[in-house]
């Protein structure tokens, strides 16, 4: 049975429907990441779970108990805010102990709990300081300590890393992941950063304009995006979207790319049903599925080699991103770092069709 159930949650503010019927289940110990562009309703949904913003309709169920009408403090949840929301007038110790104090836990037990959490997060030396005397990363840790000390049923994180600099973000991200692995806590995490979503989640929910676009594991979301929006939103650099048309080629179906009958690739294995000849489709290929011929996975079953003009070369150190251009359309390929290629040259790109997905441009959905 799922531990956290979000049942048909709708939220209207004024005349605008922010959430349009959200249904999500999460098992105990799961790490759910709500991801989407700003304004997609992910923070509103998190506030509804927390009880800070009551939904217009629908139910929130935690561990079999309907909590929709319960006060936030009665839901047995803890939340880490984007601004950390540490009480400025209290020391770190008092901040962490505040929730316990409000619950009437006696002083000795409070001190023991604070000590325990401080040890876990390695902030023991900071306990007597005030939030204003801490760095961003330290504040972040105190905010997590404040949530941890209560041992709640569900942890809620509202974009907790967005106020940190890039290096610290990666460190704290790893710490959150380790924390989840060690405590087996149930976590709901909001972010607009798709890399955070991929690295942390056991389950990702992609939201757009108040509707769920796709629910799945990080690998499902990444490799088999449900529609063009998810395909484009997840992954950096973005997935290549190549326009094509279905053609028959010697009994089997194939795709003519770039509107050029001479550039043909086989129908990717992800498509099982037969499509009408002449149907316009969009072929989605991650940059790592287009490489130089040397980097190609030897296990690959379906591959096409296409020669195209090189219009840009971007070395990143570990790989080199090469932008290819053919018949006015361009695509990004991820090649070996030491590949010999220069702008203006013709270069043979290997298209790994095992990893390709096909979308319908009319419905924007994936074709299976």
């Amino acid at each position: 049975m799922s531990f956290l159930e979000i049942k048909d949650i709708r939220k209207k503010i004024g005349n605008v429907e922010i959430l349009k019927g959200i249904n999500i289940d999460l098992e105990k110990g799961g790490f759910l990441v709500l991801v989407g562009p700003s304004g997609c309703g992910k923070s509103t949904l998190l506030n509804a779970i927390a009880g800070l913003l009551p939904p217009s309709s629908g139910d929130i169920v935690i561990d079999g108990q309907v909590v929709t009408d319960l006060h936030p403090s009665k839901r047995d949840i803890a939340m880490v805010f984007q601004s950390y929301a540490l009480y400025p007038n209290m020391t770190v110790e008092e901040n962490i102990a505040f929730a316990l104090e409000m619950r009437g836990v006696d002083k000795a037990a409070r001190e023991a709990a604070v000590k325990q959490v401080a040890k876990t997060l390695q902030i023991e030396h900071l306990l007597k300081r005030r939030p204003s005397q801490l760095s961003g990363g330290q504040r972040q840790r105190v905010a997590m300590g404040r949530a941890l000390v209560r041992q709640p049923r569900v942890f809620l994180f509202d974009e907790p890393l967005s106020n940190l600099d890039a290096k610290l973000r990666v460190e704290v991200r790893a710490e959150i992941k380790a924390l989840h692995q060690n405590t087996h806590a149930t976590i709901v995490y909001v972010t607009h950063d798709q890399i955070e979503a991929m690295t942390l989640a056991t389950k990702i929910v992609v939201l757009k304009e108040g509707t769920v676009q796709q629910v799945g594991t990080p690998s499902e979301i990444y490799n088999r995006p449900a529609n063009l929006f998810v395909a484009d939103f997840m992954g950096s650099p973005a997935m290549n979207m190549l326009k094509g048309r279905v053609v028959s080629s010697g009994g089997a179906q194939a795709i003519a790319l770039f509107g050029n009958e001479n550039v043909k690739v086989a129908m990717p294995p992800s498509v099982t049903k037969s499509l009408a000849d002449g149907k316009e489709i969009i072929l989605g290929l991650r940059p790592e599925a287009i490489t130089d011929t040397g980097l190609l996975d030897p296990q690959v079953r379906s591959v096409a080699q296409i020669v195209a003009d090189v219009s840009m070369v971007e070395p990143t150190g570990s790989d080199t991103f090469v932008t290819g251009k053919l018949d006015g359309a361009s695509f990004t390929a991820r090649t070996r770092a030491d590949v010999h290629v220069s702008v203006g040259q013709k270069f043979p790109f290997a298209f790994n069709l095992d990893k390709a997905v096909v979308f319908d441009p009319e419905t924007t959905g994936r074709i299976d």
């Binding site: 800070l52 936030p72 403090s73 939340m79 009480y87 505040f98």
Partner: protein, 293 residues
């Protein structure tokens, strides 16, 4: 013709600075002159004052006039000095300042963190209270105090000042709490703190600067108020300002300028004290909302 392109020589910059300092010193002297006259006159015996040189230092300084003003001077028909009225003012100003500040803080808290439909209208109406002239409320207020049995009492005066001050204190605290992060209130709610607990434990302890501003503002206003004092609390219940006026205008024989001046200094001391103790927070508090990005 732009000023930025003109080069200013070191010499002319120095001249300008001398000029600025000279002007500032002259203005400071002009402002301090009345205080100087008050203090010197209060320390002079009467015949020295009659000599006519207001600016002269006292030849035989004595605090006799101060003692007289505090404990012996005649106000109306009773000759017991101003000390009773001084305590009247203290008894009026302390509760009035505390109550109006606390209520203002509570109002500001509700108007920013527990918004209800129509909160803007309520706040607008409270702001409006700041602009009602004192004179306009005299008669309705007198009637109200009469009905409540609070005429001619310090309690009544406290109530009047609390009501009149509420508009200002609410304005101060609302603007301060507007910049106070909502997330802190949400975090405290999740932690299990209720309405008053959040106010006492989270908001109020973080409101130091605005509390100081409000206290200074309310203290000086209420202490210096004359109109409400003279209208709603006569005789024995008069505050200091009213007593001072009565002392100065009581004419029993010789006009004792030194006693009048000493009494006036007594009347000014508490506000002076508040400014000196808390003044540096005043500017800081006023600037806090303005500068913070």
């Amino acid at each position: 013709m732009s000023a930025a392109n003109e080069t200013i020589s070191a010499g002319s910059a120095r001249t300008a600075r001398y000029f600025i300092y000279a002007a500032l010193i002259i203005l400071a002297v002009v402002y301090l002159l009345p205080l100087y006259v008050m203090l010197t006159t209060s320390l002079k015996p009467l015949d020295e004052i009659r000599g006519g040189d207001m600016l002269a230092l006292p030849r035989e300084p004595s605090i006799a006039a101060w003692v007289r003003a505090w404990g012996e001077a005649c106000i109306g028909v009773s000759c017991v000095g101003i000390k009773g009225y001084f305590w009247n003012s203290i008894k009026m100003v302390v509760p009035a300042v505390i109550i109006s500040t606390l209520l203002g803080a509570l109002n500001g808290y509700v108007l920013t963190k527990w918004r209800f439909p129509g909160h803007k209208i309520v706040f607008g109406m409270m702001l409006f209270a700041c602009f009602i002239p004192f004179q306009a409320v005299l008669i309705p207020m007198a009637r109200l105090l009469g009905l409540m049995g609070l005429s001619n009492s310090t309690t009544g005066l406290v109530m009047v000042h609390v009501i009149y001050g509420l508009g200002f204190t609410t304005l101060f605290f609302r603007n301060y709490y507007e910049a106070f992060p909502d997330e802190l209130v949400k975090a405290a709610m999740i932690d299990g703190a209720g309405f008053f607990r959040i106010f006492w434990r989270i908001l109020l302890p973080s409101s130091g600067p605005i509390i100081v501003v409000t206290i200074i503002y309310q203290f000086t206003n209420i202490w210096n108020d004359f109109l409400f004092g003279v209208s709603f609390a006569g005789g024995e219940a008069s505050p200091m300002t009213v007593a001072l006026n009565n002392l100065v205008s009581s004419s029993t024989g010789v006009k004792e300028y030194n006693v009048d001046m000493a009494a006036a200094v007594f009347a000014a001391l508490p506000t002076l004290f508040v400014y000196i103790v808390a003044g540096r927070y005043f500017v800081r508090g006023l600037m806090a909302g303005a500068v913070k990005g």
